[in-house]
Symmetry: C2
């Protein structure tokens, strides 16, 4: 199972709330971190608990994947009844297991003034 497969299974298991399959993809000493908040979870048991206790009804749909042999970036549409947020996860993978997840949640913001006349708004 290559790194991309591992991370695709991670999201499939999470969406299915199949926690046995989810746990099987994690290195025991894995690290989860959110640089924007300084949050961190150490260890597979903690990461599993973090996911299991995520409140509400949610589904994470991978919309873009870039993968090399030992790392995978996934952009997800994180869907809840309240709407859709964008998440970007950078996964390090070794020996078929996830060893590190760095998670970003880029929220909408008002664009700054731009000096270039080429910048459009969609």
């Amino acid at each position: 199972m290559d790194a991309r497969d591992v991370v695709m299974r991670h999201w499939a298991a999470a969406n299915a709330r199949d926690w046995d399959a989810f746990a099987a993809l994690l290195a025991d000493d894995m690290l989860y971190e959110v640089p924007q908040t300084g949050e961190r979870v150490r260890g597979a048991a903690g990461y599993l608990d973090f996911f299991r206790t995520w409140p509400g009804d949610w589904q994470a749909e991978p919309v873009r994947v870039v993968a090399q042999s030992d790392a995978v970036v996934v952009v997800v549409d994180f869907r809840t009844p309240e709407g859709v947020e964008t998440g970007i996860g950078i996964f390090a993978v070794a020996d078929g297991r996830i060893t590190r997840v760095t998670d970003y949640w880029p929220a909408p913001y008002d664009p700054p003034p731009r000096l270039s006349a080429f910048v459009e708004r969609t």
Copy 2:
């Protein structure tokens, strides 16, 4: 020149303000987009102008790279006299040129309440 090399040269040329080298890496019909703001720049000339007119003194230091044959994700520390921001660029590359850049700027935020006791703050 593989996709990773193209994107590394993109940042090196940008940091050096070597706009000829920079332009040589761009597909004429490239697209730049910032999903968080809805900003968009169409075409290599526009993207070049967008970079040339970026105000102030800045350097973008790649701190993490994940690359496959046709796409590269780069996390940069974008350094200005005011401090450091994190940028995440997803680059599509074809025939040695950049065809699309999707840019994210995930800013710090206060973490939400968490139900898991395993979540620490650094």
